[in-house]
C-alpha cells in the first residue's frame, strides 16, 4: 500500500456523528418505547391520559379560579356568580384563618404587635400599661386586640405576633440539621443538646430560670456521676449520678423533709429568678393547637422514641431473663392496644390514679404516651435489623475482646440500624400522622380546628378547601422525611450492589 496517489481521497479527520434517523431519538423514541410499544400498551396509555385529563379538567378550574378575598362562604358564592364561573374554590377561608390552622389558639404577642404597628391607637387607648397591665379590663383588652388584628395583615401577625413559636421552629431546624447531615460542623451538636431547653422556654414561656436550672441540674448530675465513676468505677458513678438527680429534682425522703430544703431545684430557681427576673409570659398547654401541636408532639415523639426503642430492642435480645421479660411485656402490652385507647387512658383515667388536685399537663401526657407507643414499634423494627445481621458479626465483636456496650456501639448497631432505616422512618411518618388523633382528647389539632372554623356562621358548609390545606401541610413534612430516608440509605450504602 505504498502507492498513495492511487487512492483518490483519504479522510483525515472523523466525520461528525450523524443525527439518528427521525423518530429514533429524544422524546419521540422514548414515547414509542415506553408508551406505544405494543397495542395493549398504546391502549393503556390513551386510557390513562384520558383519565388524567378528565380528573384535571374537573379539578383545575375549581382550584385555579379560586376566590381568595371574601368574608364568608355566601360572599364567595356571590363573587363566583358575578364572575360567571361554574365552580370556584373558596380559598378565602384559608386566607382568613391560616394562622388559626397553624397555631390554634396560641396567644399572639399583642404587646409587641401593638407597640410596633398600632402605636397611635395604643396611645389613644392609654398606652401599654392601661391596655395590657394587671389592672386593665379583660373585655376592653380583647376588643382592642380584635380591632388591631382586623387592621393588621395576617402576615404581619404571623411574623411578629407568633415570633415565639416561629423562632422555636427555626431553631429546631438548626438543632436537627447537624444530626441529619454529617457534613455540617460537629460543634453544632452542642446546640442540639441545648435545644430542648430553649424550645420549652420559647413555647411555654415562664421564667427563663426554669429550663436553665433543669439543664444545669442535669449537667450537675452527669458530672458528679463522671467524677465518682473515675474513683469508684461505673457502678459507683451510676449510683452517685442517680443520687444527685434525686436530691436536685425529687424529695429523697418525702415523709421527713416535707417542704424543706429538698428538692434543691425549686429553691435554686426561685433564688436565681429573684436576682435576675427575666422571662416570657407563660402559656399553658391547653392553648397550644393547630399544626404547631403536630410538630411538637411529632418531634418530641420521634426524638425520644428512637433511643428508647433501641434499648428495648437490645433488652428483648438480652440473655438476662428479667430484662428480657420486662422488655417483652412492655412491647407487647403497648403495641397490642390501639393508640386511641392509650390516649383516652391518658386524658381521663390517669386522673383517678393521681392524687386529687394534682393536674398533669394534657399535652405532656399525650407526648409521653405517643413516645411509648412509637418506641414499642421502633423496638420491633430495630429487632428486625438485629436479627438480619449474621451471627459472625456478633462473634467477630466478641473475639476482638469488646465488652457488650462497645460491641453493640461499634459493630452491631451501626449495621442493624442501617438495615432498619426504611422501617424506622415508616414508623416516624405514621407517628407524625397519628398526632391528629389527639382531637379525641380535647387538644385542638388541625382537623379539630377545621371543625371549629366550620362552626362559625361565615364558614359553615366549607369542606374541601380546609381539608386540602391540612393535607398539604402534612404531606410536606412526610414527603421530606421519606426523601431524607432515601438519601440516608444511599449515603450509608457501603456494601456491594
Amino acid at each position: 500500500m505504498s502507492k498513495q496517489s492511487s487512492v483518490a481521497f483519504v479522510r483525515r479527520e472523523m466525520l461528525p456523528p450523524a443525527p439518528p434517523p427521525p423518530g429514533q431519538a429524544g422524546v419521540l423514541r422514548w414515547m414509542r418505547e415506553n408508551l406505544f410499544s405494543s397495542v395493549t400498551n398504546t391502549a393503556l396509555t390513551i386510557l390513562s391520559l384520558y383519565f388524567i385529563w378528565s380528573v384535571l379538567a374537573s379539578i383545575m378550574p375549581w382550584t385555579l379560579n379560586g376566590i381568595w378575598v371574601a368574608g364568608s362562604l355566601t360572599e364567595c358564592r356571590e363573587i363566583r356568580d358575578a364572575r360567571g364561573l361554574e365552580t370556584a374554590a373558596c380559598w378565602a377561608v384559608i386566607n382568613e384563618r391560616w394562622l388559626q390552622l397553624l397555631f390554634g389558639f396560641y396567644p399572639t404577642d399583642d404587646k409587641l404587635l401593638s407597640s410596633l404597628f398600632y402605636a397611635e391607637p395604643l396611645a389613644t387607648a392609654g398606652g401599654l400599661e392601661a391596655v395590657f397591665g394587671a389592672a386593665s379590663n379583660a373585655t376592653d383588652r380583647i376588643e382592642f386586640v380584635g380591632m388591631m388584628k382586623g387592621d393588621l395583615s395576617n402576615f404581619t401577625i404571623f411574623l411578629f405576633g407568633y415570633w415565639r413559636p416561629l423562632l422555636a421552629v427555626a431553631l429546631l431546624v438548626v438543632a436537627v440539621a447537624p444530626i441529619l447531615y454529617s457534613s455540617l460542623p460537629r460543634s453544632l451538636l452542642f446546640f442540639s443538646m441545648l435545644y430542648p431547653f430553649v424550645g420549652v422556654f420559647l413555647f411555654w414561656g415562664g421564667s427563663i430560670w426554669g429550663p436553665m436550672t433543669v439543664a444545669i441540674g442535669l449537667a450537675a448530675a452527669f458530672f458528679i456521676g463522671r467524677f465518682f465513676a473515675k474513683r469508684f468505677g461505673l457502678l459507683g458513678g451510676g449510683i452517685a449520678a442517680v443520687a444527685a438527680f434525686i436530691f436536685i429534682f425529687l424529695n429523697p425522703l418525702p415523709f421527713i423533709d416535707h417542704g424543706g430544703l429538698f428538692p434543691l431545684f425549686p429553691h435554686v430557681k426561685d433564688v436565681l429568678h429573684s436576682i435576675i427576673p427575666f422571662g416570657l409570659s407563660a402559656i399553658p398547654s391547653d392553648q397550644f393547637g393547630g399544626f404547631m401541636l403536630a410538630i411538637i408532639i411529632g418531634t418530641s415523639g420521634i426524638v425520644l422514641s428512637l433511643p428508647i426503642g433501641i434499648l428495648l430492642a437490645l433488652g428483648r435480645q438480652s440473655t438476662m431473663p428479667f430484662i428480657r421479660w420486662v422488655c417483652v411485656t412492655f412491647i407487647e402490652v403497648i403495641r397490642g392496644v390501639p393508640l386511641i385507647v392509650w390516649l383516652f387512658v391518658a386524658s381521663t383515667l390517669l386522673k383517678y390514679f393521681l392524687p386529687p388536685g394534682s393536674s398533669f399537663d394534657a399535652l405532656l401526657r399525650v407526648i409521653i404516651l405517643v413516645t411509648l407507643f412509637a418506641s414499642a414499634y421502633i423496638a420491633e423494627v430495630v429487632r428486625g435489623g438485629l436479627a438480619a445481621l449474621p451471627t459472625g458479626q456478633y462473634e467477630a465483636a466478641d473475639s476482638l475482646g469488646l465488652d457488650y456496650w462497645k460491641s453493640m456501639q461499634l459493630i452491631v448497631l451501626p449495621q442493624a440500624l442501617k438495615i432498619s432505616i426504611p422501617g424506622i422512618v415508616n414508623t416516624f411518618i405514621g407517628l407524625f400522622k397519628d398526632t391528629t388523633l389527639v382531637v379525641f382528647v380535647g387538644l385542638r389539632d388541625p382537623l379539630g380546628l377545621t371543625n371549629a372554623i366550620r362552626a362559625t356562621g361565615e364558614w359553615n358548609g366549607i369542606y374541601w378547601e380546609l381539608y386540602i390545606f391540612v393535607a398539604l401541610l402534612f404531606f410536606t413534612f412526610c414527603f421530606f422525611m421519606s426523601r431524607y430516608s432515601m438519601y440516608l440509605e444511599r449515603k450509608l450504602q457501603t456494601d456491594r450492589r
Binding site: K149, F344, I453, A455
Partner: protein, 339 residues
Amino acid sequence: MKKSIFLGTLAVAGLAAGLASAQTLAEVQARGTLKCGSNEGLAGFAAPDANGNMQGFDVSLCRAIAVAALGDAQAVEFVPLTSQTRFTALAAGEVDVLVRNSTWTFSRDTDLKLDFKGVNYYDGQGFMVRSDLGVSSARDLDGATVCIQTGTTTELNLADFFRVNNISYEPVPVQTNAEGQQQYLAGACDVYTTDVSGLAATRATFEDAASHIILPEIVSKEPLGPVVRHGDNDWGDIVGWTLNALIAAEEYGVTSANVRELAAAPTDNPEINRLLGTEGELGAMLGLPNDWAVNIIAAVGNYGEIFEAHIGENTSVGLARGLNAQWTDGGLMYAPPFR
C-alpha cells in the same frame, strides 16, 4: 353513647372513691378562671372567631357563670369536648361546668351522677328533605334513606318514630354533622335528620336553601342545659340561678343597656329589685356579691339578647324562638321567682 356511659361509669367509680371536691367555687376563684366544657364547634352555639375568641349561645352561658363566680366574662377556659368524652371530663373534674348542648335525660341525671341545672334551649329532632321529593309530612317517608349520626340519641329516636308509625327506612350512618351534610347534598340519602337547630344551621349554608324543607314533625324532646357534678350543691345553685337570672331578666325587661340604670336605685317592681340586689340579700345566699345578676346582664345581656345575637332570626342560623320564648309569649322559658 355506650362508650360514654361506660367511661362515665368508670369516672363515677373514681368519684365514689372520694376524689371529688365539694369546693368548686373556691377552686374556681383560686384558679382565677372557669373551666367550661364546650363543643369543639357547633354553628351558633360555640365557635371561635377569626381572633380565636369563642362566641355562641352556649359560650355566653359559660361567660355568664364566669361573671357570677369571678366578675369577669373573659375569665373562661373553654375545654373542647366530644360527645364521647364530655361526661367523663366533667365527672373527672377536668371542667367545672359542662355547657355543650347536652340533652337532659333520666339516666344521665341519675346513673351518671350528674345534675342538669335547667334548660337553656329546647331542641327536638326533625327531618330535612328536598322539596322536589314532594313530601309534606314525615309519615310519607316510607322506604326513604336517612342520613343519621351514629352514637347519638337521634339514632334511637329515629328507630322509635318509624316503628310507631309502622313505616320502613334505610339508615345511612354518618360520623359527624359535616359528613352528614355532604352525604345529603351528594344525594346519598333522601332525608337528613338531627336536632332542628342543627338542621336550620345546616340548611342556611346550602346554595339553594329554598329547595330544601324542614318537615313539621318534631319526633323527640331534647332539652339542652348546663350540667354539673353531683356532690357540690352550692356550685350547682350558682350555675342554675345564673341561667334563671338571664331568663328572668328578659321577662322583666332588664337588658344589658338598661341594667345599670335599673340597678342604680330601687324600682317599682320588687321582683326586679330582688334580682338586681337593690332589695334583699339574694346574692349573699349564693355566696356571691349582691350585684351578681347586674354584672351578668351587663356583660352578656339577658336570655333574649343572647338568643338573638347568636342563633336568632337575624343570624345565619336563623332560628325562631318557638318553644324557647318566654312563658308569657307561649314558650317554655319560665324562671322560678327570685325571692
